[in-house]
Amino acid sequence: MGLLQYFGSKFYTPLDKIGTPVLGQLAWVPVPNLNPHPFVVEGQRVQDTSHQVARARWVPLNDNHFRRREHKQLPILNFNLGETEEMIAFKAKRRPALVVGTGATLLGMPGEIMKAHHEENRLVVAPVYGVRSENDLSGFSSIMMARVRHLLYRQYFPLAAWRETRASKTHDGACSLEEGIVRFDRLQFVTPSPPGCKLVPLRVSDDVLALLHAMLWTYLHAPPSDALKEMREVLASCLPDEARPAT
């Protein structure tokens, strides 16, 4: 029996409204595709005398990027790049994500009109990746899904499917979710406002949050609690044969 079966209908707690982000809440955020080899966008004017039209080349990052160097081309005004700055290009996809940190960097008075500043009320979110299917070949395999349901990997946590029955007219942001895997190895920081972050009126239950908290801490070097170690032993003993590693 995997974790999703164990929690069953108690995996989620619906929220009456989106409200202020809370731990364990779901959101939709753009998640970058982290290429092993980053790409840099190099801008070049089409005509030397105009900023209006630029030819942008995206090329693999090399040792000359992010350094002071002899530029042969005139810069592009709208890129606003300093001498050791570059534009990085990557693909991204809007995915569900689980809020695992809130408000950690907010100082000052709430509601105060803030000047442009490094201080931001960013959320820490763990993106959710889906199951491989005919429609999406880039998802996790069913063997990995099974292993994650049994907590075999510290960087992954299972997320149950959710069938939304509430109307989005009455519950802004309400939506259904497919089963997925929460990825601690893709943690990212987002500002909690649309379009970069659309909150969902749904969070994982307190029991799931407690387990998720224990797994996340373990992923970040904390010692696993006795309860977590025992839980993993129980789940591992129930791992289906197809998902067991070859011995």
Binding site: N35, V53, A56, K72, P75, R132, F140, P224, L228, P245
Partner: protein
């Protein structure tokens, strides 16, 4: 203008550039005049030395007053204009126009305000490469941040350089140092215990099913595309 007049400032910048072995092209000279204004604005509440109306042109900050001053200098004989490159129409964009002083004037070095010492540093660093000079002006000067071509530059954005006066921490009392030593030792022990406890919490296998079953991120192919930017006032 109290600190220095625009004629002396322009002539002083040319003298500095020649002293550094740099060609005082019109584009570079305009940019160093802009940087002189910026440096003044940074420490004088946003006020510029020249009070000129700077805006963003195809080659970065430019002021009509600067170009008029150059013309005036040539007419009155305190500037000498030169040009290199092709004369025909097809090569007009490769032609460089610049200015020199009719004769050396050592007093100009004395006339330059100490506040502009930073401009001379930038001259040494970027003065022999117009692309590098423009990249610095575009990316690292406050009035140029987030402006569109044709927009008038706002020097009230200029801020003093540097982090402000250094804040020194007082030496810690011996008693507190001892206490911190004890706490660090405790934290080290906790960390070691955590590592030891984690060692028994093995991860799942990195076998063929793992390697095949975890999504991979595609690499992008190299390529290029055309971007069109709006001008100031465009929707």
């Amino acid at each position: 203008m109290g600190l220095i007049d625009t004629k002396t400032l322009t002539r002083g910048l040319i003298a500095w550039m020649r002293r550094e072995g740099l060609a005082p092209t019109r584009t570079r000279l305009v940019k160093f005049l802009y940087l002189a204004d910026l440096q003044h604005a940074r420490y004088k509440g946003g006020e510029t030395l020249t009070t000129w109306r700077w805006y963003t042109g195809p080659f970065g900050p430019v002021a009509v007053e600067a170009l008029q001053l150059f013309d005036q200098g040539v007419r009155e004989g305190w500037l000498r204009q030169w040009a290199v490159g092709g004369d025909d129409e097809a090569e007009s964009d490769r032609r460089a126009v610049g200015y020199d002083l009719p004769e050396q004037d050592e007093s100009l070095h004395e006339a330059m305000p100490p506040l502009l010492g930073k401009v001379r540093e930038w001259m040494k660093r970027y003065g022999d490469s117009t692309p590098n000079l423009l990249r610095f002006v575009y990316g690292d000067t406050e009035p140029m941040q987030n402006v569109r071509e044709g927009e008038v530059l706002n020097f009230s954005r200029a801020r003093p350089l540097g982090p402000g006066p250094a804040v020194q921490s007082a030496p810690l009392p011996r008693k507190q140092v001892k206490r911190l030593d004890d706490l660090v030792a405790r934290l080290r022990a906790e960390y070691s215990a955590a590592r030891a406890a984690s060692a028994g919490f093995a991860d799942g296998p990195r076998d063929a099913a793992y390697l095949e079953g975890v999504p991979t991120d595609d690499d992008l192919p190299s390529g290029e595309f055309i971007i069109t930017f709006p001008r100031s006032g465009d929707e």
